[in-house]
């Protein structure tokens, strides 16, 4: 009994404050651009929206069990082409109204409405055909085909019908800044932060009174702020900061399961870069070992490295990764030079020229990535310079990224970026000539054919084989110079307890989080 008391003495202060709740402040990669789930573009958007909305179904962050906080029961209907969903009663929206089947059907109809210009919704139009309200709490969602396990596909957040005038949901509605959900927190986006206030509900009882998120600045400042207890968490901790935080008893490092890989996208519409051989030579110019060492601080041979080179658009642990395609770890300048010469480029002095003009490469990088991989942009530029290319570097703001890079209208020659995935690692949108996320409007008929093969695959092994082929082809054609996968780690003060981090969505289990002494 004495021992039990002793343990509780160690943790007593923390426990004593559990019931009262507290404020939790944390640094995000960026401030969410929109709190409307239909317009989530960044991981910061997804994470913040998880606090405000309930997805129809979700996976338990610990046991991976398929669960729902909204659905009381469901049954497959119309021979597998529909699912009848009965919603729980007593669930309230943040505006006080009750959740009903009308809200669920409104969400479905909004996603199906062509006047809702949402890339998220576009994917649901591929298999959902409609929704009918069968009673106050009962809705029937119809599909265009038989789905083996419809629940796995119905993980969209539910929106309140009462907050909209029509099913045409535009990104600039006030809902994007002051959303109404059924989630554990009522969120409000400010100019510099997002404030999330606890909202008790029949299905949520968060222990934290208020959460506040801000965009993290310099990683060192973030780290110091965390250690000094001026903030309770950092969602993404860059590798160089991890050892210091790991060694602190006041901070816990948390794994965040997110499949992220880094790349240098090459603009094939530029005269020099349209030549596949030039892209191949650039791939050999890049010394990934040095880039990794100087920007992330990981030396070749380091144990348990969070950063591993890749040769294609998947992380090495993925079933889609073609392990027969080797990675290019170091540079081979002699070979690169011979390829460039065979591609018709000439070296005058120490500079490469095409059609008599010196080649100047405009290299850009999403500015926020500079926190995770400091100086990567200048390191890449240095390597290109050493290989005989003039270069200009730009850090691309989130705005410019969205305006020009994502819309395929940027004028850069090379762009350094990162893509993140969850369970689904589809890359069709990145490399298909009509892909929504095809950064430089890359076009290759063979690639399109392979992606069609992937889409038409009857079995999952056919899909895997298609992506293996894609990996191999991309490693030759090189619309991207593939760099590495980089694990994501968060850091939270030890006063933050019960902080289970869900894969991808992060805050799925926020109800169990608390802040103590």
């Amino acid at each position: 009994m004495t021992l039990k008391n002793a343990i509780r003495a160690v943790t007593g202060l923390a426990l004593a404050t559990l019931g009262t709740g507290a404020t939790l402040a944390y640094f995000e990669e960026s401030i969410p651009m929109s709190l409307n789930p239909l317009y989530a573009k960044t991981m910061a958007d997804h994470r913040a929206q998880e606090l405000i909305f309930d997805r129809l179904w979700f996976h338990d962050a610990v046991t991976n069990e398929l669960r729902s906080r909204l659905v009381q029961k469901y049954q497959i209907a119309e021979a597998g082409r529909a699912v009848e969903i009965t919603l729980n009663t007593g669930i309230r929206w943040h505006n006080g109204q009750s959740l009903t089947s009308k809200d669920l059907c409104f969400t479905v109809k909004a996603m199906l409405d062509p006047r809702t210009p949402s890339p998220v919704a576009a994917h649901y139009r591929d298999f959902i055909t409609g929704c009918d309200s069968k009673g106050p709490q009962v809705a029937l969602i119809r599909f265009n085909r038989v789905l083996p396990n419809p629940r796995e596909r119905l993980m969209f957040p539910v929106l309140p019908a009462s907050a909209f005038d029509s099913t045409a949901i535009s990104p600039d509605l006030q809902f994007s800044a002051r959303p109404i959900g059924t989630g554990p927190f009522n969120g409000k986006r400010g100019l510099r932060d997002v404030t999330l206030d606890k909202f008790d509900n029949a299905h949520h009882s968060p222990k934290i009174l208020q959460m506040r998120l801000q965009e993290g600045g310099d990683p060192l400042v973030q780290t110091k702020t965390l250690v000094n207890n001026n903030v309770q968490g950092i969602v993404v901790v860059p590798p160089p900061q991890r050892p210091d935080l790991s060694a602190s008893d006041d901070v816990s490092m948390k794994s965040y399961d997110l499949r992220s890989w880094w790349y240098i996208a090459v603009n094939p519409n530029k005269p020099a870069l349209s030549n596949q051989k030039v892209r191949q030579a650039l791939n050999m110019v890049i010394n990934r070992n040095e880039l990794r060492q100087f920007s992330i601080g990981i030396k070749p041979g380091d144990k348990n490295s969070p950063c591993e080179f890749i040769s294609g658009p998947f992380i090495s642990a993925s079933p889609y990764y073609n392990s027969e395609v080797p990675t290019q770890d170091t540079s081979n300048l002699a070979k690169a030079e011979s390829i460039l010469k065979s591609a018709g480029l000439t070296k005058l002095g120490s500079r490469w020229h095409v059609d008599g003009q010196p080649i100047t490469l405009r290299v850009g990088m999403l500015a926020s990535l500079d926190r995770e991989a400091p100086d990567l942009l200048s390191q890449v530029a240095n390597q290109l310079g050493a290989a005989g290319f003039d270069r200009m570097t730009n850090k691309i703001s989130a705005d410019e990224w969205d305006n020009t890079v994502m819309s395929g209208t940027s004028d850069f020659d090379l762009i350094i970026g990162k893509w993140s995935f969850g369970l689904v690692e589809e890359v069709n949108e990145l490399f298909h000539s009509k892909g929504r996320q095809n950064l430089f409007n890359y076009k290759n008929e063979q690639v399109d054919a392979i992606l069609a093969e992937y889409d038409d695959a009857v079995t999952d092994t056919e899909q895997r084989d298609a992506y293996h082929k894609l990996h191999k082809l991309l490693s030759i054609d090189l619309p991207y110079l593939f760099l590495w996968k980089l694990d994501t780690r968060s850091a939270w003060r030890t006063e933050v307890r019960g902080n289970i981090v869900a894969p991808y969505y992060y805050f799925t289990e926020i109800d169990s989080w608390s802040v103590g002494g």
């Binding site: 021992l3 039990k4 002793a6 343990i7 003495a9 160690v10 943790t11 923390a14 989530a40 573009k41 960044t42 991981m43 997804h46 996976h59 610990v62 046991t63 991976n64 069990e65 890339p119 998220v120 994917h123 649901y124 396990n149 796995e152 596909r153 993980m155 790991s246 060694a247 008893d249 490092m253 948390k254 794994s255 399961d257 144990k303 348990n304 642990a317 993925s318 079933p319 999403l366 970026g417 893509w419 993140s420 995935f421 969850g422 369970l423 689904v424 690692e425 949108e429 990145l430 996320q437 009857v458 079995t459 999952d460 092994t461 056919e462 899909q463 895997r464 307890r497 289970i500 894969p503």
Partner: protein, 441 residues
């Protein structure tokens, strides 16, 4: 300091001296743990003089096997073989779980006709004997599979001997401590999908991993002195893949070779963990006076349940207490103290996980499991525990973390590649049925 400490501690700066610490367990129990005892230079010197122990400390089992094979510490050799046995047993369970989920739960009409054998064996390994046998009975068409299925009909994963398993997968060679059986070429079988294209699908038999585990267990027994046989059985309960029958375990004499750098902190902990695997929280109460792990966890038992948050607090408290104790012994805080006490902290989480699992607290056990894995990242991940987590994940139909773990250790332990196709299949099937998702920047 010697090589062990220089390497093991990764050149960390010595942390500041601990503040006044509350004793969370009886100081006598704390003093009996290996971290506390290893604070004494003379006790630690044995482990600093053999390269194999540095490798055990760094969780490099293959390297440690080679080092111990050169001689110098038979118990060290036995311990490494025991760890490899646990590693491959977990890998067998990982394969079995992934196979059942991919080809059983998510079976497709296009699956090859002979998948029944692999799903059946997987059920047997998981301990679902009735489902397993029902499937094994219907295996036909491929002689090799029919023969294997028949052999399995009279076995269970728990009691299958090395010779039984070798009878199914083929001989692994004489059991010679200090060596590793060769890895057969993969895949074990190529089956044809029932589609127009009739693609070939590589499939591996998890029995091969089970056989490999049995081989290493036999090698451990051969390497260790005969007096350690009982203890080996007790230690093996930690990662045993079958259901444990509740039984009492005595406290056996334990050489430090079985404890150093591991999750069993004292002799009584070995008995406690073996009992907890079957009896759950009850054993915490029963052992709290003798086992330091049980004593630490006793404060986390609330109304017959283990509270995972309190268990984490208990781990933190014990690490602090040991840190203070080691500082007293060593005359100050030294660089190796933190990695040692962190292992004690993780040991509490792992013991809590085992007890919670046996107490029908599946999710709570999962929380502790994932916390233990996270804590390991700062001091080095134990491949045996990581594979056990991967197996658990596959059983939960979560292939992502399992894939990462398998990928991380496949280069060091090539036989783990046997688990890859089933895990891949699980991922592919779940991904195919999942909701839409865009790449996000």
């Amino acid at each position: 300091m010697t090589a062990l400490l220089a390497v093991g501690c990764g050149g960390e700066e010595p942390p500041a001296a601990p503040a006044a610490t509350v004793a969370v367990v009886d100081p006598v129990l704390a003093a009996d743990t290996w971290p506390a005892r290893m604070a004494h230079d003379d006790q630690r010197s044995r482990f600093e003089q053999h390269d194999g122990w540095r490798q055990v400390f760094d969780h490099e089992l293959s390297g440690a096997l080679a080092s111990f094979a050169a001689g110098g510490d038979q118990r060290g050799l036995a311990r490494v073989h025991q760890a490899l046995a646990d590693l491959y047993a977990s890998a067998a369970l990982l394969t079995a779980n992934a196979t059942v989920e991919a080809y059983g739960t998510d079976a497709q009409p296009s699956d090859p006709a002979h998948m029944a054998y692999f799903v059946g064996v997987s059920h047997m390994i998981r301990g679902d004997h009735e489902e397993g046998k029902a499937l094994l009975k219907v295996v036909d068409g491929v002689d090799a599979l029919v023969m294997r299925a028949q052999a399995w009909m009279s076995l269970t994963a728990d009691d299958a001997s090395l010779s039984d398993l070798e009878g199914i997968t083929g001989p692994l060679g004489d059991v010679q401590p200090g060596t590793e059986p060769p890895v057969a070429s993969l895949p074990h079988f190529e089956l044809t999908e029932r589609t127009e294209k009739a693609n070939r699908l590589g499939v591996n038999d998890p029995t091969a991993l089970l056989a490999r585990a049995a081989w290493h267990r036999a090698a451990a027994a051969a390497a260790a002195p005969e007096t350690d046989q009982g203890l080996q059985g007790q230690m093996a309960r930690r990662y045993a893949i079958g259901a444990s029958a509740a039984q009492t375990h005595p406290v056996l004499a334990v050489d430090d070779a079985w404890l150093f750098a591991g999750s069993t902190l004292s002799a009584a902990d070995a008995a406690f963990v073996a009992e907890a695997a079957a009896s759950g929280v009850e054993s915490i109460n029963a052992w709290s006076g003798r086992s330091v792990l049980a004593a630490a966890l006793s404060s986390a038992v609330v109304e017959g349940k283990l509270d995972p948050q309190l268990a984490q607090d208990a781990g933190f408290g014990l690490a602090k207490q040991l840190s203070a104790l080691m500082a007293d012994v060593g005359g100050g805080v030294m660089g190796f103290h933190r990695p040692f006490t962190q292992r004690a902290r993780i040991a509490v989480l792992q013991a809590g996980m085992i007890a919670a699992d046996a107490n029908d607290q599946y999710r709570d056990a999962g929380i502790l499991r994932l916390n233990a894995l996270e804590r390991m990242e700062s001091i080095g991940i134990d491949p045996v525990f990581a594979l056990a987590v991967a197996a658990w994940d596959a059983g939960n139909r979560n292939p992502l973390r399992a894939e990462e773990i398998l990928h991380q250790f496949r280069a060091s332990y090539p036989a783990l590649s046997i688990a890859k196709p089933a895990l891949e299949a699980l991922h592919l099937r779940r991904s195919r049925n999942a909701g839409p998702a865009n790449p996000v920047h």
